[in-house]
């Protein structure tokens, strides 16, 4: 069994000492920053409007995708024209049990990382298998197309090179561009599944859902 419990313990310790993930909220496009709907230090929930951006006479409400506390709010940008990707505020998001599990799984599983900054989607066969069996059960065989990478206007298949493996975790969203090196899939051998399940059970116990 290839799971390094000491490594997982170290990671858990680190997460306990800083149980936050800091999300930098940037402008999705250009426009005038018309108003803030939150204040420095306020607590926000997913879906809550953070600020309004006006472009071509359309007001776009920029909403929070996570819960947490608002920090580093750029009041100085109010009523100014801002470029796309301008940092506007930060949300200090307390890590949920599921997010901690995701972090741990990146250590415990054999992770397939994005070879290029590109969009990825499961191959049709794998998608059908995931739909039928679900992650944690869907099996991939050597030489099978695992993912399709959409890159520079071309689609390139990514094959599974190793022995038969279970797709235990999907780390990416097919709608979004994945930076090179980011995790795509977490794989393990069918024999390792019970061990991984046990590790997760331990985390669920130690890190109860808020």
């Amino acid at each position: 069994m290839g799971i390094d419990h000491r490594k997982i313990n170290r990671l858990l310790q680190k997460l306990r000492s800083h149980p936050y993930c800091v999300y930098a909220i940037e402008t999705p496009h250009t426009g005038y920053l018309r108003s803030f709907r939150v204040k420095e230090g306020s607590e926000v929930q997913p879906g809550e409007i953070l600020f309004l951006l006006e472009r071509e006479r359309n007001l776009k409400p920029v909403k929070s995708r996570v819960s947490g506390r608002v920090q580093r709010l750029r009041q100085d940008l109010l009523d100014r024209f801002v470029e796309a990707g301008e940092p506007i505020l930060e949300i200090w998001h307390p890590l949920s049990q599921e997010e901690v599990i995701s972090e741990i799984l990146q250590e415990a599983l054999q992770v397939l990382r994005a070879p290029e900054t590109a969009r990825y989607l499961p191959s049709p066969e794998i998608e059908a298998r995931l739909r039928k069996d679900g992650p944690g059960k869907a099996l991939v065989h050597p030489g099978e197309d695992l993912l399709i990478m959409t890159f520079m206007k071309r689609e390139t298949p990514i094959r599974h090179e190793g022995p038969p493996a279970v797709i235990y975790r999907i780390f990416f969203d097919p709608q979004e561009v994945v930076p090179a090196g980011n995790p795509l899939l977490g794989l393990c051998s069918p024999e390792e599944v019970p061990y991984i399940d046990r590790v997760l059970a331990r985390i669920r116990e130690e890190w109860p859902e808020q």
């Binding site: 496009h29 470029e83 990707g85 520079m152 071309r154």
Partner: protein, 463 residues
Amino acid sequence: MKERLLIANRGEIALRIMEACEELGLDYVVVYTRADEESLHVRRARRKFRIADYRDPNEILAVADEAGCTAVHPGYGFLAEDFRFARRVVKRSRPLIFVGPRWEVIRDLGSKLNVKRLAREMGIPVIPGTTEPLYNEIEAEAKAEELFQWLVENGEPEPRLLIKASAGGGGMGIEEVRELDEVRPIFRRVRAYAKRLFGDEGVVIEAKLSCFQHLEVQLLGNQHGELVHFGTRNCTIQSPGRQKRVELAPGFDPAYLTYEFSPERVLEEIVNHSLKMAEAVGYDSVGTWEWLVTPEGRAYLMEVNTRIQVENEISARISRIRKRPVNLIREQIRMALGEKLGYTQRDITFQGTAIELRLVAEDTRRNFRPLSGTITRFQYPRYPWLTVRTHVPQDRPYTIPTEYDPNLALLIVWGENTPQALERARRALEEMILEGHTSGGGPLHSNVSYLWEKLKEVYRFPV
């Protein structure tokens, strides 16, 4: 008021537009995305705005207003042939000048079927096929039978048809038919694909020419009804994905290679037909009429590109206006700002052969797979007969963005005749240095060897 252009594009075309603006004494503003931060078009521009996407009209227009621009140059690709964008630019509450043809012209010539219809009405030859989208497989089969017969009568040894999604583009939704029995299943498949991808199940059928050369005619018109041409180009050498890689001007060189037909007659014919159609629609900017020419010297109009082309500079390089050099982007901007030509066709002369080589990060041995990675060393020779257009910096490593085509540079070579141009093109390729690594850590390949090899095939019909 001094005009100020918003350059709604990236990379080398943005740089060429910047240069044209500087020559004309115009202000300009550039836009860029985060992926392009290291591009030379961003580093060289004084006024620049980061946007989310070059394809988003709202981004372009919001920046144009904020920067006080009076005109928008779309370059090529992205929004250049989007008539809705061109219409919005000129019809909004704060109208701007669109550097390109009138939006009605883009709309009418942007549809391949419409161009075919118009050409037939004017007696201009087009590749035989449907001029209306087909929705019915019985009609499709009848049309296919007629087209197979036409191909046989015209001596095609292996007649083939193409069934295409009428709303498609960029090589998507095209299937080949070898015999009549295949028409129905392929028609159904393409129709379903067209519905799924383009939301319109219209399908077109046309004869497939097995052997041809791809020629272009470069035109320039304006709102005063003036119209001239800047000769022809030959763009036959393309990658398997129908991407142009080596282009030459003029379209044929009878002094270099002879054919079974008179190349002078074919060139004259395609120039005249192109001018005739341009005049009929009141064409008012730079534009390219694309033609296919068979080994028997028959020419068929394929499509019209209502924008500046990547390869415009080889036409400019062989042209002179009253013995002065030509810049077609500068001419395009002048026409958009309402100026008159100030010369006639008789003032335009042609000299020599120009070749454009498109340097691309791609693995030509693995089906021209595009490559990403970092360029660590990029150097090219300096000669009066060579112009290199590139957005890749030479003084620092450059990571190729994965969001766009992996085009790195255009090498534009001029020679007094074709053999000299070819010799110089080979020399430029040999003396160029491109080093780097892929994101996987391997050496970064480019298509230099492929380009070198392909120079042997210029002006020849593909075997």
